[in-house]
């Protein structure tokens, strides 16, 4: 099953290159269906499986890694980016050094002397396998395959309107498919080297896809994404190096079984990679820049799946973090990122950037929860990841619709959009509501998170910071989302006739799927958590069923015009901004850089 998840998208990617539009649709639907089916199947079968890679495969991966890093070097040279070159060179050196060092421990790795080309299944061995599927991975499969599959389906339609050569379009979709496969492998990688390779693959993917439109802006943003993510690569390699030198292992599970010594340094370095991938401040720049990429890319990479590596990684490391100081620092960092990113988002006006910042914020929250390291908080972090992926995917896809159908990017231009595009605005509002309000999953997750953190306060008073930032951050996010909706709403009158909005099926199907999933999973979550709260579901029901029903009866009321002090002046909506001054901004960035460094320092000291 796992193999299907990994290989099917690769196969589909191949086929895409030679297929016409309809086959593309067919393929994406097929991948979505089978991917969802298998991931659900995997999720329900509560069995942990693991694989060993053959040594050949390992060699291939090493080779591929080196090629990849050399490619980065080349790109850095080509576009004259010193940062990229230096970081790639550092990575290359580190990588070779680790390979050199770990060769001494290789006896463990190539145990059983497997030399076949295939991957072999083995549960009997007591040794660590390179690929291990645990509960967390199975949950990630769900997100990747269902949400990712939907996004791929959407991107097929999206590409139709893009101005690019057909070959390039095919390549784009193929890349999306490949990316699914990469992600599927990444979340079950147990070997740190494999993990590093896939991590770099995701970096590559985001680099290439951001640069897809190949203009000046995309190029600079892509390079920025590249070097920032390379920092993540460097710290991973450092972490691996520490692990190899300290414990002689490159496996997650083996590493986490150890305690004391340099473990915390290694874990700290790895979690720093999470901070980078999660675009936590001060690395938020790359995720924002990534918003120039085509919308499915933003949806897939930069909000729904790829950046989820960040909380995933912390969750993976959580057993070692627990109630330690390092865990505390990480969770505080996450909490502060949550508040600060929500605050910074208030000064943005490009719709996707706002979504991007709110992603940064929520990733911070998830990381904070994951780093707390109790069973409950980790579970909540996972729950948040799932619901966030659904809601953000919905929002990004709706943003893509706006971009393609109405050529709108900035919210400033979206004034009174509800009049022209009521359906899309409806999806966007659903997205906003599902991110903030009861009874949807994300809200419930936040609610339980508050409960769970509050229950820990007596033992760990430091978490008060996390709690307070969680509370303030949620309030700021509410402010953000509903400030944005101010531009969308503001309907002059419902008696004006407007053209009916038509969303193409290629767009509307993914949107509908996601909406159904949001509502369904939210309801499901409530049922699991607390039966009595089902009454909460009555709230949206008012809107969905009762209000439109009453709406018909509203014909009989007379209409009037808004009050303008007796004048007859038109009114233009405009957003409100809460822009920090440059000094405050600099302070924020500096303090977060310090905090980032503090993670390493704390790791080294403890």
């Amino acid at each position: 099953m796992l193999l299907t998840l990994i290989l099917l998208p690769i196969a589909a990617a191949f086929l895409i290159l030679f297929s016409s539009k309809y086959i593309q649709y067919f393929l994406s639907v097929a991948v979505l269906a089978s991917g969802s089916y298998y991931s659900i199947l995997l999720f329900t079968s509560a069995e942990n499986v693991s694989f060993y890679l053959s040594s050949f495969f390992n060699t291939v991966i090493i080779a591929a890694d080196i090629v990849l890093l050399l490619y980065f070097l080349y790109q850095g040279k080509k576009y004259n980016s010193l940062k990229v070159i230096v970081l790639a060179a550092v990575q290359l050196l580190l990588f070779l050094y680790i390979e050199h060092v770990s060769a001494g421990h290789s006896a463990q790795v190539v145990v059983d002397g497997i030399t076949k080309f295939t991957i072999e299944y083995d549960t009997s061995s007591g040794h660590s396998a390179e690929i291990a599927v645990d509960e967390l991975s199975r949950f990630m499969f769900l997100i990747i395959n269902i949400v990712g599959g939907i996004i791929v389906l959407y991107s097929v339609r999206y590409m139709e309107d893009e101005t690019a050569t057909p070959r390039k379009k095919q390549l784009f979709i193929a890349a999306m498919f490949l990316f699914l496969s990469v992600m599927n492998t990444l979340v079950c990688a147990n070997s740190l080297m494999l993990f590093f390779f896939l991590f770099e693959m995701t970096t590559l993917a985001s680099y290439l896809l951001i640069a897809f439109r190949n203009d000046e802006v995309s190029r600079t943003n892509a390079l920025r994404a590249l070097w920032m993510n390379q920092i993540g690569g460097v710290v991973i390699l450092l972490g691996v190096l520490v692990a190899v030198l300290g414990f002689g292992t490159v496996m997650f599970d083996t590493l986490l079984q150890h305690s004391g010594g340099v473990l915390f340094l290694s874990v700290a370095l790895l979690s720093m990679a999470a901070l980078v991938k999660g675009a936590s401040i001060p690395f938020d720049g790359w995720l924002l820049g990534a918003m120039v990429a085509p919308t499915p890319v933003s949806a897939m990479l930069h909000s729904a799946t790829m950046v989820k590596i960040a909380p995933y990684l912390i969750l993976k490391l959580a057993p070692a973090l627990g109630a330690t100081l390092l865990g505390g620092v990480l969770s505080i960092t996450g909490g502060l990122v949550f508040v600060t990113a929500s605050y910074l988002a208030l000064s943005r006006f490009v719709f996707k950037e706002i979504l991007g910042y709110s992603t940064v914020a929520l990733l911070g929250l998830m990381m904070a929860l994951a780093a707390i390291g109790t069973k409950e908080s980790m579970m909540l972090a996972m729950v948040l990841m799932g619901f966030h992926a659904l809601s953000k995917a919905l929002l990004f896809l709706a943003a893509g619709v706006l971009e393609k159908q109405y050529h709108l990017k900035s919210i400033e231009e979206m004034s009174a959009l509800v009049h022209r595009a009521p359906k899309t605005v409806g999806y966007i509002l659903l997205g906003f509501v599902s991110l903030t309000l009861p009874p949807f999953g994300l809200f419930m997750g936040k609610l339980f998170a508050i409960t769970s953190v509050a229950s820990l306060l007596r033992e760990r008073p430091l978490l008060l910071i996390v709690l307070v930032s969680m509370i303030i951050g949620s309030a700021l996010l509410v402010l953000l989302y509903f400030k944005v909706s101010s531009a969308l709403l503001s309907n002059p009158s419902d008696t004006l006739s407007a053209e009916e909005e038509r969303i193409p099926y290629g767009f509307s199907l993914p949107l509908i799927l996601l909406s159904v999933l949001i509502v369904g999973t939210g309801a499901g979550f409530i049922v699991i958590q607390h039966d009595a709260l089902l009454a909460l579901l009555a709230l949206p029901l008012i809107f969905v069923f009762v209000l439109p029903w009453i709406m018909r009866g509203m014909e009989r009321y007379d209409r009037t015009e808004p009050y303008h002090c007796g004048e007859k002046e038109p009114f233009d909506t405009a957003l409100i901004y809460y822009e920090p001054t440059i000094r405050v901004k600099q302070m924020i960035y500096w303090s977060f850089t310090l905090l980032f460094a503090a993670v390493a320092v704390v790791g080294a000291l403890s």
Binding site: T495, D558, Y563, K568
Partner: protein, 173 residues
């Protein structure tokens, strides 16, 4: 319904508009809201918002520039509503009667129910008028009252009315 109708006179909310008066009556309205005369005894709230008002207190003889606003505000007040013309210039034009930029009283534009004399009208007179207006308010039907003149070209009025879904009730001439 009779039951609800009886509450009209217990909660008259006022909207005040100055259609070009000398502000003598306006400060007296303000004084009437003050502690000595305290219109809130009658349940009066100065809403400042036509949509939630019952009593339209107008001062001033209607200058050219305030005509449209007067009519606009009047038509935004939901029925039943009462218009009180405060002060002699509002009632008849007063000392401004016949000046080139005034229209000699607001009843040239909107139907007035109570005329308050005085230049400037005193809070006592305003209270008297409101008490009188309350009786009128109680007996009013909810039939749509329309201003005598609407502004804009005829076409736009028709458009506006049909757009506001009022066309079927207000027959504009």
């Amino acid at each position: 319904m009779k039951f609800f109708t009886s509450f009209r006179k217990k909660s008259p909310w006022i909207l005040h508009y100055n259609a070009g008066s000398c502000n003598g009556c306006d400060i007296e309205i303000l004084a009437a809201l003050g502690p000595k005369f305290d219109l809130e005894r009658f349940g009066v709230i100065n809403t400042g918002n036509p949509k939630q008002s019952d009593i339209f207190l107008v001062t001033g003889p209607v200058t050219y520039r305030s005509r449209e606003r007067l009519v606009e505000l009047y038509s935004q007040i939901p029925e039943p509503k009462v218009v009180i013309a405060v002060g002699s210039c509002t009632t008849t034009g007063g000392v401004f009667r016949g000046m080139y930029n005034v229209e000699d009283g607001i009843d040239q534009y909107i139907p007035v129910d109570v005329y308050v004399p005085g230049c400037a009208s005193t809070p006592q007179l305003i209270i008297d008028a409101i008490v009188k207006a309350l009786e009128i308010l109680e007996n009013k039907s909810k039939e749509i009252e329309k201003p005598f003149k609407l502004f804009g070209s005829v076409e736009t009025i028709g458009n506006k009315l049909s757009r506001l879904n009022m066309a079927k009730r207000v027959k504009h001439d």
